[in-house]
């Protein structure tokens, strides 16, 4: 049988060749382009609220899977924009893309089985059923995930302004290494060392100093010494 069933992210669909609708609609006849067409007649059903949408769309069959997929994706996107498919609209782009790809491959698979010798047209009947519960569940999971991300990254609670002002600034262009008095951002000295007391020095400079001393040059913070 020329029929494909599939379930995908809370969307179930079936795609069959519609034998009773083989005549070319008037507006397609006017199309100058020669070639074989896929005509999708779509019934869109939502399981819970029983919204029922009928729609048609065509795709020029140039045996290019990509084009059929793009047409399908555009159609799904348009449905979402009209607010018909609350669930579909909320789907992330990669899921919509995958869904469009699934439907497009099914359509092409059917087209490959069908004999186009007689007609330029392959009428298809697509029935999509959206499982609201499954979509809602996915929606909720995505939202709680992003909320958890916000809490983890600490963007939800802001810090006191005075605390920001109290933070110590380091300007590498104007602040100097207090050993050589050169700017911290030096062309010859790329690596800085931060002492436990938070004072910054060029690595070479402070290491040379600490080879014979154990205190921070600026604040005299004492570094641990060898027991010997």
């Amino acid at each position: 049988m020329a029929m494909i069933n599939s379930a995908f992210h809370g969307c179930e669909y079936s795609l069959v060749v519609d034998q009773h609708n083989e005549s070319m609609p008037e507006h397609y006849k006017r199309d100058q382009q020669q070639g074989h067409y896929l005509i999708f007649r779509v019934d869109f059903v939502r399981s819970s609220s029983a919204i029922y949408v009928q729609k048609e769309y065509t795709s020029l069959l140039t045996s290019s899977k990509k084009e059929v997929r793009q047409d399908t994706r555009r159609w799904i996107y348009q449905l979402g924009q009209r607010g018909v498919t609350r669930g579909l609209r909320g789907l992330p782009r990669h899921v919509t893309n995958s869904l469009a790809q699934e439907i497009a491959s099914s359509a092409l698979e059917l087209a490959a089985r069908h004999d186009f010798a007689a007609a330029r047209l392959l009428p298809l009947y697509l029935r999509m059923t959206v499982d609201d519960d499954a979509l809602e569940l996915e929606h909720a999971m995505r939202e709680s995930e992003s909320a958890a991300r916000e809490i983890r990254s600490g963007t939800v609670v802001s810090v006191a302004k005075s605390s920001i002002e109290a933070l110590e600034e380091v300007n590498l262009k104007t602040d100097c290494c207090m050993v050589c008095l050169d700017k911290l951002s030096s062309r010859s000295q790329k690596v800085l060392l931060r002492m436990p007391c938070s004072h910054l020095y060029h690595k070479n400079c402070i290491v040379r100093w600490l080879e014979t001393n154990h205190v921070c040059p600026v604040c005299r913070y004492a570094m641990p010494t060898d027991p010997s």
Partner: protein, 164 residues
């Protein structure tokens, strides 16, 4: 040899920075006049004004700096060229007993800030670590007046322009 060369280069570069800074700061600190030997960046001299409300007021004291090649990892050697009667300055050699010139030295000090430290030492002598025992003993025995008159006399003798 290679290491020696690098150390020398580092101390030279740092001293040139200090020289530039001193020339810029000349106006900022009227109590210190720090100059570098024209031919040797490791030899410096400073003229410092005796701090006010001390027996050194009105005097100008000359300091001689000998900067080691390991500078600023090692402190400069500083001594008074001008005679001074002070518990922490050797009366004959001018040697100065100041912790930052010895074990409390840090590369964060500069020749300029060492001068400031010496001015501070002139105003606040430490009689408990004397290089000039006579001076130290006067202070330790509480003879402030004796100390001040001796110090003022030597300031007049050695640190002030001769009259006439």
């Amino acid at each position: 040899m290679e290491l020696n060369h690098l150390v020398l280069q580092a101390s030279r570069a740092r001293l040139f920075k200090e020289l530039k800074e001193v020339q810029r700061e000349k106006v900022a600190d009227p109590d210190i006049q720090l100059t570098c030997d024209d031919n040797n960046i490791f030899k410096w001299t400073a003229l410092i004004k005796g701090p006010s409300e001390t027996p050194f007021e009105g005097g100008v004291f000359q300091l001689a700096f000998a900067v080691p090649e390991q500078y600023p990892l090692q402190p400069p050697q500083v001594r008074f060229l001008t005679k001074i009667f002070h518990p922490n300055v050797h009366f004959k050699t001018g040697e100065i007993c100041l912790d930052i010139l010895k074990n409390a030295w840090s590369p964060a000090w500069t020749l300029q800030s060492v001068c400031r430290a010496i001015i501070a030492l002139m105003a606040h002598p430490e009689p408990d670590s004397p290089l000039n025992c006579d001076s130290g003993n006067l202070l330790r025995s509480g003879d402030i007046r004796g100390y001040q008159s001796m110090a003022r006399m030597y300031t007049r003798l050695a640190a002030m322009p001769k009259k006439g």
